[in-house]
């Protein structure tokens, strides 16, 4: 009971078209992540689903019901915002209960649901505090609790981890993943961080300039990207793109992921000099300036000693090399 259909949704602010016809189907219980660079329209799409923005044309259908003209509070959704957006004048308990109170839910029921949500998110000691007395991580947990309490058909997350520091981000990410497993609710999550997308999603929707570039599971996007944009966006460090003509290939662009390149000091396909080496412990990122391929990144697992200025040969794994046509699409 939490399916979502988006049918040809377009959104324009004046002459600027932000969404250029989005079609998407989300089945019950799915964790869908919208990912894309800033300005790609992912947040706008989420706002259209929430009803905070009206679409210029197209339909939003939640659970088989066209909600295009329904106010946000009546859509059966709950949203978690990047800036937490807690009510500063209310205690944690009242923050979580306000939506239910507005919907005339009996007080006993509100208390029961707050009890469940706060134990799930270990918020019990803070119920009587105000948001100002909480840390960033606690505030975001309250915001998540406020969404859980409403038992919505659809959870919407708008970059919920962006304001947290790195360590908290990993913890909260874990909590969201557990929450999804426990509630089995449909969740839609917006982020610009492809790591969050890969780790959380059942299904990733890659957006660029108001269009959907590709929809698929994390591994599907990683292993068979539909085009150059998706190939470049998913995976870190970013895929290397080499001009096909320089390699004597027929394809416009050749793409190789940094982890699908091997290096050898004596022989290989592309000769280059080390520009810079990043030692991360578990792996090493080498930046090579190659005669044929230009500046490329190579990711080597484990420790690899390479001084800047040294000569190395890089060889791509032919089975994991992508070929892109002039239109950016993958050539089969």
């Amino acid at each position: 009971m939490g399916s979502l259909n988006i049918e040809n949704v377009k959104k324009a602010f004046g002459p600027v078209e932000v969404l250029k016809g989005i079609n998407l189907e989300v089945t019950d219980g799915e964790f869908v992540v919208f990912v894309g660079p800033s300005g790609c329209g992912k947040s706008t799409l989420l706002r259209v689903i929430a009803g905070l923005e009206d679409s210029t044309s197209g339909r939003v259908v939640i659970d088989g019901q066209d909600v295009s003209a329904t106010p946000p509070a009546k859509r059966g959704i709950a949203m978690v915002f990047q800036t937490y957006a807690l009510y500063p004048h209310l205690t944690v308990k009242n923050n979580m209960g306000l939506g239910l109170k507005q919907a005339n839910t009996p007080a006993a029921e509100i208390d029961r649901r707050i009890g469940i949500a706060s134990s799930m998110l270990s918020l019990e000691p803070y119920l009587e505090r105000r948001p100002a007395e909480l840390s960033g991580g606690q505030r975001q947990r309250v915001a998540i609790g406020r969404a859980v309490v409403r038992e919505p058909k659809l959870f919407l997350f708008d970059e919920p981890l962006s304001n947290l520091d790195a360590a908290l981000r990993v913890n909260t990410r874990l909590e969201i993943a557990q929450l999804h497993r426990r509630l089995k609710a449909t969740m839609i999550y917006v982020t610009h961080d492809q790591v969050e997308a890969m780790t959380l999603a059942d299904k990733i929707v890659v957006l660029n300039a108001g269009r959907i570039e590709q929809i698929g599971g994390p591994m599907e996007l990683y292993n068979s990207p539909a085009n150059e944009f998706v190939a470049g966006f998913i995976g870190s460090p970013k895929m290397n793109f080499v001009d096909g003509a320089r390699l004597g290939e027929t394809a416009k662009t050749i793409g190789v992921r940094p982890e699908h390149l091997t290096v050898d000091p004596k022989s290989g396909a592309w000769k280059g000099t080390v520009v810079h080496a990043e030692h991360l412990g578990a792996d090493t990122n080498l930046y090579l300036d190659c005669e044929k391929a230009g500046l490329i990144t190579v990711r080597i697992f484990g420790v690899y000693d390479a001084e800047p200025g040294a000569t190395l040969y890089a060889t791509p794994d032919p089975a994991k090399t992508y070929r892109f046509g002039a239109d950016g699409k993958v050539l089969k």
Binding site: F13, G51, L52, P72, K74, M79, T83, Y87, H89, R146
Partner: protein, 279 residues
Amino acid sequence: MSTATRSLPRTIGAHAILLTYTAIALFPVILVIMNSFKSRAGIFGAPLTPPTPGTFDLIGYTTVIGQGDFIHYFQNSLVVTVASLFFVLLFGAMAAFALSEYRFRGNSLMGLYLALGIMIPIRLGTVAILQLMVASGLVNTLTALILVYTAQGLPLAIFILSEFMKQVSDDLKNAGRIDGLSEYTIFFRLVLPLVRPSMATVAVFTMIPIWNDLWFPLILAPSEETKTVTLGAQLFLGQFVTNWNAILAALSLAIMPVLILYVIFSRQLIRGITSGAVK
């Protein structure tokens, strides 16, 4: 104490400048209050000395309280100021919210139109306002003054408040919408408390000209019933003989209510003025 950021000569210099300025700013006020407690001969004999047992005299205050209905004038001033302030803040904040929150055709044009009053003094329209008040039978009522002062205060209020309203987090308002709060609840419960410092700033800027105004009370409501304090004080200002004791006493008394309102707002005010700069 750390001395990295302090040096004694600089501290002394800064304080000297500030103290000089404070003295200059306070001098006329102190002069007025000092002389209001002196006899007529004392005022003219030695205007710069504080009241001594020889010159101390409450004649000014007794005249003010005895002659004319000063308590009543005070009431009028207070009613007009507080009511105008209330309407300016209420309507100003609502208009500012609409301008900053909703996208509609002609939004920026409307903003410009509402801010136009900052550049055009309302007194230019005095004749038309008087005709309007005569036609609607509002001459010699406090309502006339409240209406005019509300109109006078709104442009600046809208201009300042809409800037501050733009800074209120969109996420917070959207969270309210998702929780089913009405736009009015969002405005009164979520947004207004967050812009309280700027409301205090606007309140002070609006209040002082209204309290001190002589022009409109003189033209629109000069009757005994509706006189304000500033107009009442004119009673003692003659063409040939001026009752300085009474005028100084009346002015000293007139400072009090503004001072009280200012103290109420000032704690918020400082935050309002500096919030844009440091955050």
